[in-house]
């Protein structure tokens, strides 16, 4: 006998095959219990199309990366494809500077990729520039160049220097004067970035964490700080609780993790006005987790579109 234990269970085979008529869990839906509401005729794509959207966190890439991901459409055409499919009217794109040392030559090159995509699809993209606080003078100059190219604020700034590093102070002061959003990559001490995790997860030591955002938000209460992707780098409950009392920190919902209750929890702790819809390229999760929340349509519309657009309005960069 090939299978140990077969004798003990073989008698069940006939009765437990799922195709057998005797199975109690059938698919007959005619005798519903009245304790529960009727099953709705839910039309998901109608819900998707109901809401205008600005995606506050998107990236464009060079061909080598899109090949790795299997994006047959390449970039930025993949981003355009999802935007049209899911009624994302504007996507705030950048090319995050995930190289060391993040020199001026490198960030200019990365920004040129973004500018190229903006020029190609001006109706679909808003551009965010990347800089590096370690190169303060060149970063200030790059802001001017990118403004001239029509960019609206920073893209996702990366891990070369923490957001609250003094080298960023004059840069942040300039961005405040320009009423631009300061969007920073972030992780969490409870998660991939952190000291409590004892695993070598290859995270850069200068990655900004929630405590760094609180520090800079207190120093510059007039700054507009976008905490990147609560669906990516760390414990979103920790992050939302950390920012409850700092009205100039906005959380953005991007990242591939679409935990149930993330959005309801964020609204409960941060409020419905300080949350930006973002995908970080995870478009399905970005939209799915907001639509699956218990928010009203008005609250969803705020997160999908109005909150980000209202901040753009401060600098006259709104989209309508």
């Amino acid at each position: 006998m090939a299978d140990s234990g077969f004798n003990a269970l073989s008698r069940m085979t006939v009765r437990n095959g799922l195709n057998k008529k005797s199975v109690s869990h059938n698919t007959d839906m005619n005798d519903e219990c009245t304790l529960f509401p009727e099953k709705a005729n839910f039309d998901l794509m109608s819900e998707v199309m109901k809401f205008r959207k600005i995606d506050a966190h998107v990236h464009v890439y060079w061909p080598d990366f899109t090949k790795i991901l299997g994006w047959v459409r390449g970039s930025p055409e993949t981003q355009i494809f999802f935007g049209k499919k899911l009624r994302i009217e504007k996507q705030v794109i950048s090319r995050y500077l995930n190289v060391m040392p993040g020199s001026p030559e490198q960030f200019r090159k990365y920004n040129n990729l973004t500018i190229e995509a903006m020029k190609k699809y001006p109706d679909n993209f808003l551009g965010g520039f990347v800089i590096n606080g370690a190169y303060q003078k060149e970063s200030l100059e790059e802001i001017n160049r990118c403004m001239d190219a029509g960019m609206i604020g920073t893209g996702e700034l990366y891990y070369h220097v923490k957001i609250n590093d003094p080298r960023y102070y004059p840069i942040i002061e300039k961005l405040i004067d320009l009423k631009m959003i300061i969007h920073f990559h972030a992780e969490c001490q409870l998660g991939v970035g952190g000291y409590r995790m004892k695993y070598k997860t290859t995270q850069a030591p200068n990655t900004s964490i929630p405590e760094d955002f609180v520090d800079i938000a207190k120093r510059y209460p007039e700054g507009i700080f976008q905490f990147a992707h609560i669906g990516m780098g760390g414990d979103w409950e920790y992050e939302c609780k950390m920012f409850a009392d700092y009205p100039n920190i906005y959380v953005e919902t991007g990242g591939s993790n679409n935990s149930e209750n993330m959005i309801d929890f964020a609204v409960k702790h941060i409020g419905e006005d300080r949350i930006f819809f973002g995908s970080d390229g995870a478009y399905f999760q970005g939209i799915g987790k907001i639509l699956a929340s218990n928010l009203t349509d008005r609250q969803k519309q705020k997160i999908f579109f109005d909150n980000y657009n209202n901040v753009l309005k401060l600098g006259g960069r709104n989209v309508d």
Binding site: A8, N16, L18, H25, T27, D31, G191, V192, M197, I287
Partner: protein, 269 residues
């Protein structure tokens, strides 16, 4: 018709979940138009004696009255724990369970453990599916008390390569692989055995963000079915991956297979 092949009830020790009872899940199903859910009890991941969790699920389903017909319960079995064969027998004969959920990482046995191979062979004989997952929660947001498989670390989360050995050991069993959130790549020498295996994956995992490309391979059309990974992941993302497919990515017939057709065929409903 929608059949969710990957839902749970029960608790997670490190985080409060919403919608983690049969009643709450049923409300979720009704709200979003889902007909049937394949469910198991998360508590079985943490109880040493998993049968307690299976019994809990059975009793909870009983309390739903006729609404229990909306659920297809799967048993959580640890094949390295005493009495598992009797537990499985009880789950199938008394509790009406229709498949098996397996957690080698949490239950601390290897994918090639002889007891696992024995169980999968038994499932093959009984013509019931066995289910593996890539992960339950995103390790980047895990508790410090959770298992120590961490993305981007030297001991990373699972990919399809980690599941292949059991498929090689018992190639003719029925496999469900859920929350496919990392690589689907396998070694070239394993491709034939995987391609010939009876496998059904669900749409809850992030690897299917490129679902349109995945479906270009004709054989893949019958290997994917709607799944939520509820209540861990949000209820709609797995559905959105299907519903947003354009006509040049998937025909209406293909979408129907993903919504429920593949699940019906695989589960012999």
């Amino acid at each position: 018709m929608w059949i969710d092949i990957n839902a749970y009830v029960g608790r997670w020790p490190f985080m409060q979940f919403q919608y983690n009872t049969c009643a709450a899940l049923l409300n979720r199903m009704n709200k979003f138009g889902v007909d049937i859910s394949v469910i198991s009890n998360l508590n079985g991941i943490f109880y040493k004696n998993t049968q307690s969790a299976n019994k809990e699920l059975y009793e909870e389903l009983q309390s739903l009255g006729r609404n229990n017909k909306r659920f297809i319960p799967f048993a959580v079995i640890n094949p390295t724990y005493a009495g598992w064969k009797n537990d499985l027998k009880e789950c199938l004969e008394k509790f009406g369970m229709k498949g098996i959920r397996l957690y080698p990482k949490y239950h601390d046995y290897a994918i090639t453990d002889p007891s696992l191979i024995e169980l999968v062979k038994m499932a093959r004989t009984l013509d019931i599916p066995v289910t593996f997952n890539y992960r339950i929660v995103d390790s980047r947001q895990r508790s410090w008390m959770d298992i120590d498989l961490v993305a981007t670390s030297a001991k990373p989360e699972w990919t399809l390569r980690n599941i292949i050995p059991i498929i090689k050991a018992v190639p003719d069993a029925k496999y469900m692989i859920v929350n496919v959130c990392n690589s689907l790549e396998i070694n070239p020498e394993d491709e034939e055995i995987f391609n010939n295996a009876n496998v059904l994956m669900d749409t809850s995992g992030r690897s299917f963000n490129t679902i349109g490309i995945f479906l270009q391979e004709k054989a893949n059309i019958t290997r994917l079915a709607y799944g939520t990974h509820s209540p861990i992941l949000d209820y709609l993302t797995g559905m959105l991956r299907i519903e947003s497919l354009d006509s040049d990515e998937a025909s209406e017939n293909t979408k129907d297979l993903l919504r429920s057709g593949n699940a019906k065929r695989f589960l012999e409903l």
